[in-house]
Symmetry: C2
Subunit: 499 residues, 2 copies
Amino acid sequence: MASFLMNNCFGKSLKNVWCGASVYRYFSKTATSTHLDFDYDGPSMKTTVPGPHSQDLLKQLGDIQNVGAINFFCNYEKSRGNYLVDVDDNRMLDLYTQISSIPIGYNHPALLKLMSNPNNMSTFVNRPALGILPPHNFPDKITQSLLSVAPSGMTRVQTMACGSCSNENAYKAMFIWYRNKERGKNTPSNEDISTCMINQAPGCPDLSILSFMGAFHGRTMGCLATTHSKSIHKLDVPSFDWPIAPFPRLQYPLEEFTRENGQEEARCLEEVEDLIVKWRQRGKPVAGIVIEPIQAEGGDNHASPDFFRSLRNIARKHGCAFHVDEVQTGGGSTGKFWAHEHWGMDDPADIVSFSKKLLTGGYYHKDELQADKPYRIFNTWMGDPSKNLFLLEVLNVIRRENLLEQVTHSGKALLDGLQELQVQYPGILSCARGQGTFCAIDVCDDETRNSILLKTRDKGVLLGGCGDRSIRFRPALIFKEYHVHLFLNIFNDVLAQFK
Amino acid sequence: MASFLMNNCFGKSLKNVWCGASVYRYFSKTATSTHLDFDYDGPSMKTTVPGPHSQDLLKQLGDIQNVGAINFFCNYEKSRGNYLVDVDDNRMLDLYTQISSIPIGYNHPALLKLMSNPNNMSTFVNRPALGILPPHNFPDKITQSLLSVAPSGMTRVQTMACGSCSNENAYKAMFIWYRNKERGKNTPSNEDISTCMINQAPGCPDLSILSFMGAFHGRTMGCLATTHSKSIHKLDVPSFDWPIAPFPRLQYPLEEFTRENGQEEARCLEEVEDLIVKWRQRGKPVAGIVIEPIQAEGGDNHASPDFFRSLRNIARKHGCAFHVDEVQTGGGSTGKFWAHEHWGMDDPADIVSFSKKLLTGGYYHKDELQADKPYRIFNTWMGDPSKNLFLLEVLNVIRRENLLEQVTHSGKALLDGLQELQVQYPGILSCARGQGTFCAIDVCDDETRNSILLKTRDKGVLLGGCGDRSIRFRPALIFKEYHVHLFLNIFNDVLAQFK
């Protein structure tokens, strides 16, 4: 048994707790080592979390910022691989990875090596205005990195600094494309030019983006108008009157509800078409449809490949651009580099945006979605080439170590384990679901969910919540079956306390 | 005479051109060396710009992105101090510094040293979700860096990734503050909570931000609704019906138009009050006023300290938050760290946003502008601690080398020179203006301005345009009087061609 189980914050052997409480065991049934040179061999908890050192820092930072969302303070120097170490020397198996934004674990040797290469220094020290004065190696670097994993049908990419900026600019690209289509070969009128300066139509037209209930696309004001996951994100911020369609609410297990789920998806698709027609009649035509392949923040809501294929066709039929937001799903954790690859389409989207695990933000787009003139999609930095350097190395590691296959393998073990646990704890858990390691499970209620998250953390595993009462799993791509069982053992211990 | 004058793309001695054309000379009247170990001693032009290597790369990148705004490709490894070197080995004195975002020149030794310190590595390699899991040294680092230069009356700061995100979140902070003020001690109603999820009032209220014609505050959709500098930024993007006030159009030289300029500022202030009243009556109350201390992108438009003091009082009187956008003006180039310090106020603003020269985005705010709950101002990264590391070192250099004093000194030499040149070339130049090295001058028309920019670049000096027909000067803080004269000599040569 891993040493961490012998050492816990209550000063007694966790082994006893575990043996007493559990009727369901994974008991290190697979590998006994991580096969990662830079990984630790298990969690190790020294204090409750947040520990005394974290609490001191929390007070200090509280004089400067709202610290209500802070979990604890971290020692990133000591963190390694799948393990996040905090300032009180607690070492936690991290299945949340900085809100799903650490692709290959902490302090990966490949990234450290990149940092020690003096040839890379100037990329960090001299951040360029990429839109006007890119570095000599920029075309090569984005060809080798971002374009080497471009979604089907896309050869163009625009980098941006973060997920929100990526989506904001993707929306602008769709608006520009739509208006140019409306104008045909005509140039903007004088009225277009003069009215846009004062925020009025026709220069600033009454176009809309169709989004889905439960969606999360960011928190800047354009993105926020398409975000509908939690009220705390939206309250008190002015917004746009844009159409919002229902996202399918599938019933689980899927194989038992084929007919019901098919009907539910058909209902949502019908509503999408109704809304497109209705908003056109209102004088606010839908320029684009934006959707996540899996609604993450909104509760890990899935839909079938059929649903997405039909939606893509509806967009085409009505002349709306189709924007797939892969900010959270992109980068490999579903077992494919892009979650939309699971739909099996040659022409899955007009725009695909990304950030998080890709370390740089940005969006791919089809040729016709490129703005017709310079400075229409533009800002000072337009991304950061130093992040692109890291991404290139991350992609090398993913390929070299076959991490997508590993994710598929670990993900199956994780989902199998969750499904067994929900049989074991039917009063607590339900709707285990996932693709690759991008998994989630529902808890009976919000309060129990939050309590489980805290108790699991106290035992050395970091998880995230999403939706009203779901737990989401977002490990790094180096998360192996060994870690799955390590997690399941601990999770089982926690659940046993609730039974 | 500096060696660069002997070597130009036309293959003949620039010295002859210079001697023949010029009747007005600065002739290296001050220092003959830069006193910067890492600086070059002058421009050196090998090809026309963009040179053949840049043109090849332009073709390559053109298959991936819109490259219409790209000037040329850079060799950032070879760039040093005030000089940007391109891929064709042209070395240019840079008075534009990546749209004003390079604070202490290229490859500053202090920043390179920081990169070679292994203790800093993990900050680059492990980008945290700052809002939930900050690094152990985060409170100390922002205290030593951002808070050490906090605007008067502000002890709180929120970091963000870029200027647009900073302003977007500053606007949200003002909306939240305003609605909480309206509610008094009441919590949000059930109607607030439910309507905000579908973008409707009262949850998403009809509040507005008052901005000024000619302003630039960014290009994401919230920011863009307050940006009114160029139509290319705004065309085809839906916007908000928010009030837009006139920004004073001062006449130069200021000392000759005291009365007229006073009247112009009074007219604008009166219009601001009228708009606040009018928008309140329309049911779209003004939650905040946003303004740049100097409208940069819009044409380097200045107003007097009196104007800003009165505006701040109007904001207070009408219960609007006052947001000073220092994204371009902040960081020292006006001779003070913040341009608003020239107003001489103890309580200059409720919110001050920054980015560019500070390398990290973000905003300072008064205590009452802090969101009342966590996750209201939030995103995955909330900035980037590695940028903060650089900023700390930049501030050390600024203090150690008295760069603000130097900026004041160089800026006076620059403005004196521009004023002399506009006397010399009255048909071409007018309205020389500036604070520190944050200077600008108007050119007779757009076409001549653009031609001057290109010809000056061909002689090895990079400048920027702004507004309809202005040239803006945005050198780094290490720009010395020596460089001023170097520039003025070249500028004079170029102007002589237009006489």
